[in-house]
């Protein structure tokens, strides 16, 4: 393939070369099991501790409050299932939102179906942000947990987690946030935001795949999720993914140190891309909040065009992107997030998500916009919906 423009950084990111370099010694040289007692094992343990301290520092947490997992999804599952189990004597009600990742939504469905949980799914406004008064109204005496994502993976909308944390604290309810997209993209301080649990994943910030963490505030009675050895303070057994955890620490340091500069550049390019697309292509809509959105997220819907076709055509031009169309989800329904912000099905099918990285240049975006203009027009020329729409327009003009 000739040039590739990778605009799917919300799906995953390139593992940074310096992260790989930090990980490499922990495969064939420092391969000791951190639970063993000799020096070799101690080196592995040190690697893990350094990563834990690194991550805890970013969140304003203590290192004992960071528990490494195999993924962000595992962290989400753990937070919800274990909190429900631990606090079920207090109540069975969980509040979450309609736009959470499936790691939260499907876990909630499981808890409701199999464990007798009652779940309130908060609506969001047309920009994909919850209303705090809805949250207040949803709280009941038996509410034990509020789980609201820090930022949305599809449309990038940023939730008011500080305000949510305050409400949760006032009512004595646990607050969990899925920060898989937000960690190291936005400043998040667990004390300032009254966060009790937070999920994250390394591969979204140029770290390796297969490692995540759950922050659990000291004092929160969360039980072990995986039973076995004494790893992760007996709460998540299993020999640690030492290279992965070390890589996570290196990636977090890198992303945190560069955050201000990187996100400022990404915001500028994001807004440039949004304005070019919305100004130069007709019948297009920006999804998500214009300002309260992740620095690297662009999500637009093109009317009369289907998302998978768009992705295949873009792929043909070397551009990697994603869509919320049904055809890319494997079901007949388009993205639940796009439906939750009020998009009709036919417009949700024509959605396109482009997520930038620090490597993307203005020239990359110019090329992308030029290709996008051609592709959207070609697909519209092939679309019976566009044909009908244009005929109706002509009729109206004649009248």
């Amino acid at each position: 393939m000739s040039k590739m423009i990778y605009l799917d950084n919300a799906a995953t990111t390139r593992t940074a070369p310096e992260v790989v370099e930090a990980m490499l010694p922990y495969f064939s040289e420092l391969y000791g099991n951190p639970s063993s007692i000799y020096d070799l094992a101690g080196r592995s343990k040190e690697g893990i501790t350094a990563a834990r301290e690194q991550i805890a520092g970013i969140l304003g947490a203590k290192k004992e409050e960071i528990y490494f997992t195999g993924s962000g999804t595992e962290a989400d599952n753990w937070a919800l299932k274990a909190a429900f189990e631990a606090y079920k004597n207090k109540g069975n009600h969980i509040i979450t939102t309609k736009i959470e990742h499936h790691a939260i939504l499907h876990t909630c469905e499981y808890l409701a179906k199999e464990r007798g949980a009652e779940i309130t799914y908060l609506d969001v406004d047309e920009n994909g942000i919850i209303r705090l008064e809805d949250l207040e109204k949803a709280i009941r005496p038996e509410t034990i947990l509020i789980s609201v994502m820090a930022a949305n993976n599809e449309i990038g909308s940023i939730q008011p987690i500080k305000e949510i944390g305050l409400i949760a604290r006032e009512h004595g309810i646990l607050f969990h946030t899925d920060a898989v997209q937000a960690f190291c993209q936005l400043p998040i301080h667990v004390d300032e935001c009254n966060i009790d649990m937070l999920s994250s994943s390394a591969h979204k910030i140029n770290g390796p795949k297969g490692v995540g963490f759950l922050y659990i505030r000291k004092g929160v009675k969360i039980r072990s999720f995986v039973h076995g050895g004494a790893q992760e303070r007996k709460r998540r057994a299993g020999t640690e993914n030492v290279p992965g955890i070390v890589g996570y620490g290196a990636a977090a340091k890198r992303a945190w140190d560069s955050m201000e500069e990187r996100t400022a550049k990404e915001r500028e390019l994001r807004d440039y891309l949004i304005s070019r697309i919305t100004e130069e292509i007709p019948y297009v809509k920006l999804n998500g909040h214009p300002v309260k959105r992740l620095p690297n997220n662009v999500n637009v819907s093109f009317r009369f065009v289907e998302g998978e076709s768009l992705l295949l055509m873009l792929d043909g031009c070397g551009i990697c992107a994603s869509s919320g169309s049904a055809c890319t989800s494997g079901s007949l329904d388009p993205s639940h997030v796009l439906l939750a912000i009020g998009l009709p099905h036919e417009i949700a099918h024509g959605s396109l998500r482009l997520t930038l990285s620090e490597e993307i240049t203005k020239e990359d975006l110019d090329y992308t916009v030029e290709k996008l203009k051609e592709i959207v027009q070609n697909l519209r020329n092939m679309s019976p919906l566009y044909e009908d729409f244009m005929k109706k327009q002509e009729e109206t003009n004649v009248q």
């Binding site: 179906k113 076709s309 295949l312 055809c327 679309s383 019976p384 919906l385």
Partner: protein, 148 residues
């Protein structure tokens, strides 16, 4: 995920467009499910041979490719022969489709049948084996139960 033939027909779709004063037009699918296919036929009233066939499709790669292949397969055929172009035949001609995309291939057969039905209605003829097309081919289709 797609075969080379599917990608070829998707990237270079054959017979895209409209036929003015077509002898039969059929539109199937719905925008809610993300796929709509419209087939235009130009049929010789004497010989019942399909002289021209064009399509317009809103849908995924599989929907576009099956439309393109279906138009190629009915071109030059008689109505009777065109009736034998099934979704299975279209799918085989494309070297298969991923399982989640099989429902897209149903559209092609339905669209041809809908266009033939339109022709039969206009000309007051009966085409053997042809029944009134469903307005929505997704009716009754449901998502599978999820297991935990």
């Amino acid at each position: 995920m797609y075969s080379e033939k599917v990608m070829d027909h998707f990237q270079h779709p054959r017979n895209v467009g409209e036929i003015e004063n077509a002898s039969g037009v059929g539109t199937v699918g719905n925008a809610k499910c993300g796929d709509i296919m419209r087939i235009f036929l130009d049929i010789d009233d004497e010989t019942h041979i399909i002289k021209d066939c064009k399509f317009k499709t809103f849908g995924c790669g599989a929907a576009v490719a099956t439309s393109s292949m279906a138009t190629e397969m009915v071109m030059g055929k008689t109505i009777e022969e065109a009736m034998k172009v099934t979704n299975k035949a279209v799918m085989e001609a494309l070297d298969g489709l991923p399982p989640v995309k099989v429902h897209c291939s149903l559209l092609a057969e339905e669209a041809i049948h809908a266009a033939l039905w339109d022709y039969a209605e206009k000309h007051h003829i009966v085409i053997e084996g042809l029944s009134k097309p469903k307005s929505d081919i997704h009716e009754g289709e449901e998502e599978e139960e999820e297991d935990y």
